[in-house]
């Protein structure tokens, strides 16, 4: 694997140059203080780059929103019939965490299999992902990437990965696309030869900041053989069914479909939906095969930790910790995994 060096002071000029070709999405501090992956507006680039966040601050939403937005139009309809609405601009994602990369790769696999999802695949077909590994956990106490095997640095799946060496980044190349990007902007990159060992030390130190973590593999094994109905019942009573955990989750992909029409024309939209909602399984007759709080709670945890490993070969939880951080009543995956693995009562 070839490596390069990128000075931190060159990040903004690099993104500016790259914006001639790419729509750039990066962690930006927004008006109210939240950090989120947002498109850099090309007409106000310098101003937007002022809000670029380069340290390990947590992003509120995962970058799935770029490829699977909360609301999207599937097609418009009217007197001329149906007009498909797809979007496939070239997208450069800068500063994706390793756990979020795992989430994107998981969703890629889900949307590509069987009946390929044209909307997701078209949005993501022309993308470049620059991962920036975390030096310290962005969601201290909530995230557990090392336990889940998804971070703090990525092993594969990225185009480029940045390792923070202080005043500069060591840039690891993970794909031909990543190599081409460096060649296209070669003025910003120097050889990384001789700095790889320093980068390895940074990765080791970063992993050490993560604390004791959770026994993720034990939890995954027990999810298949154990009985956690009491946990689901207790958590189900506590949950307020706001859906925040689903919306912030990098791998939650459920959606509802609705038509919006005014007279003879309108559009078919899809919007995020979630398995914990009571109406999620309610049929037109009023019959609801899964009405109970316990069953809906079980659905969420078992889907991620039991059925995803069986069906997709990997856990649907990537350990980002957003669910716990966003929950108004203190429910989250890290706590649930501790309950399963250690037999404790965390919530």
């Amino acid at each position: 694997m070839s490596t390069y060096l990128l000075r931190k002071t060159d990040v903004r000029p690099l993104l500016k140059e790259a914006s001639a070709v790419w729509d750039i999405f990066a962690p930006l501090r927004e008006g109210v203080g939240d950090v989120n992956f947002k498109a850099l507006p090309k007409d106000r680039l310098a101003e937007a780059l002022e809000n670029l966040v380069l340290d390990d601050e947590p992003t509120l939403l995962s970058p799935k929103t770029i490829f699977f937005p909360q609301n999207e139009t599937m097609f418009a309809f009217g007197s001329g019939g149906i007009r498909e609405q797809v979007e496939s601009s070239p997208k450069l994602l800068f500063g994706v965490t390793s756990c979020d990369l795992s989430g994107l790769l998981f969703s890629d696999g889900f949307f590509a299999k069987d009946f390929p999802d044209r909307y997701y695949l078209s949005r993501s077909e022309n993308r470049l992902i620059i991962v920036k590994g975390c030096l310290k956990p962005p969601r201290q106490g909530s995230c557990f990437c090392a336990s889940a095997g998804t971070g703090p640095f990525a092993q594969r799946g990225f185009d480029l990965q940045l390792v923070d060496l202080g005043g500069e980044y060591l840039v690891e190349v993970g794909s031909g696309k990543g190599e081409s990007f460096i060649l296209a902007h070669s003025a910003f990159f120097a050889s990384g030869d001789g700095r790889e060992r320093a980068a390895e030390a940074v990765k080791r130190d970063a992993t050490a900041t993560l604390g004791p973590g959770v026994d993720f593999d034990k939890a995954l094994r027990l999810m298949v053989t154990g009985d956690f109905e009491k946990n689901f019942a207790r958590i189900g009573e506590r949950c307020v069914y706001c859906g925040a955990c689903l919306y912030v989750c990098p791998t939650c992909t459920c959606f509802n479909v609705v038509d919006r029409a005014d007279g003879g024309s309108g559009s078919r939209m899809r919007t995020w939906d979630g398995c914990v909602f009571e109406g999620y399984t309610r049929e037109a007759s009023g019959h609801n095969p899964r009405p109970s709080k316990t069953a809906r709670t079980a659905r969420r945890y078992e889907h991620k930790l039991k059925y995803d490993p069986l069906v997709a070969g990997r856990s649907g939880c990537v350990g980002c910790g957003r669910c716990l951080d966003s929950c108004p009543v203190g429910i989250g995956m890290s706590k649930f995994i501790r309950e399963v693995a250690d037999g404790t009562e965390e919530m």
Partner: protein, 281 residues
């Protein structure tokens, strides 16, 4: 932009209604054809399609016509929600949009030589009708065919004309029952599971194929099991709230299975492996 429809499974194709037949006070059978013949698809017994009334939405509906017969695709639909109620206001010549077919299918080849029991409740006869007519078109390949059909009351029996035609076919027996009789009803009153004895139900070399309200399927499957039918000899088609029909929207996910793509046809052995707490029925 206008994209290539062939790589976007979510885009429905324009179709039109060619005929509407009233089955009951709130059930109609619609015959549909594609506006462009190039959009036409072949389908298998037990599959479903997604029907759109643009501006109202889209619903998954089983195809009730038989792939063994030429002619229009037929869908038997109860006016239950927003889209299906809108459909009931439409008539011949009106436009709809259609995509599919989706889901697996009822077995067919493996049913040959076997005695078949079709057990249906209410509008649940619609998906079974596709297979029933397919079987009847090569009846010589099958053993006895018994159709056990129940509805809330006599007025809610669907396909009444066809039930009479089926009765007249040698080797075919039709048993009807209703939950509540109305004047003029001389048949039995009770659940479809009360027809076991009248139909001389026997598990020997037999397969039962079920569709109906969830509670009916649940008790019918358990009842057949109690009468000695093996789990693989009890086949059912499940219904579930679904949006996309192609395993993406998540609504019909039970355990690790999607009703839309892994089903809707499952045998009892598969159903028993599903997590009961998720409400299979």
């Amino acid at each position: 932009m206008t994209g290539d429809r062939n790589n976007n499974e979510y885009l429905p194709r324009p179709a039109r209604i060619t005929a509407v037949r009233r089955e009951t006070f709130d059930v109609k059978t619609f015959s549909l054809e594609f506006v462009d013949r190039a959009d036409a698809f072949s389908y298998k017994q037990g599959q479903f399609a997604e029907i759109s009334v643009l501006g109202q939405g889209e619903v998954p509906i089983s195809i009730t016509s038989s792939p063994s017969r030429k002619g229009p695709m037929e869908f038997t639909i109860r006016a239950a929600g927003r889209v299906t109620s809108a459909m009931h206001d439409l008539g011949p010549g009106d436009a709809l949009y259609l995509r599919g077919p989706y889901g697996n299918a009822f077995p067919f080849e493996t049913l040959k030589g076997r005695n078949l029991y079709f057990v249906a409740g209410g509008i649940g006869l619609a998906p079974l009708r596709s297979l029933i007519n397919m079987v009847l078109d090569s009846i010589e390949d099958f053993g006895d065919v018994k159709i056990l059909y129940g509805a809330k009351n006599p007025e809610e029996l669907c396909f009444r004309g066809e039930l009479e035609e089926w009765k007249a076919i040698p080797g075919v027996e039709v048993y009807l029952t209703v939950d509540r009789a109305s004047p003029g009803w001389t048949g039995p009153v009770g659940l479809v599971t009360a027809l076991w004895d009248a139909a001389a139900l026997s598990p020997e070399n037999a397969v039962a194929i079920l569709c109906g309200p969830p509670i009916m399927i649940k008790f019918a499957a358990a009842g057949l099991s109690g009468r000695g039918f093996g789990d693989e000899a009890i086949v059912m088609t499940l219904e579930r709230y679904m949006k996309c029909g192609v395993g993406k929207c998540g609504h019909c996910n039970i355990g690790g299975s999607f009703v839309c793509t892994d089903g809707p046809v499952f045998d009892y052995a598969q159903v028993k492996r599903m997590p009961e707490k998720e409400g299979v029925f």
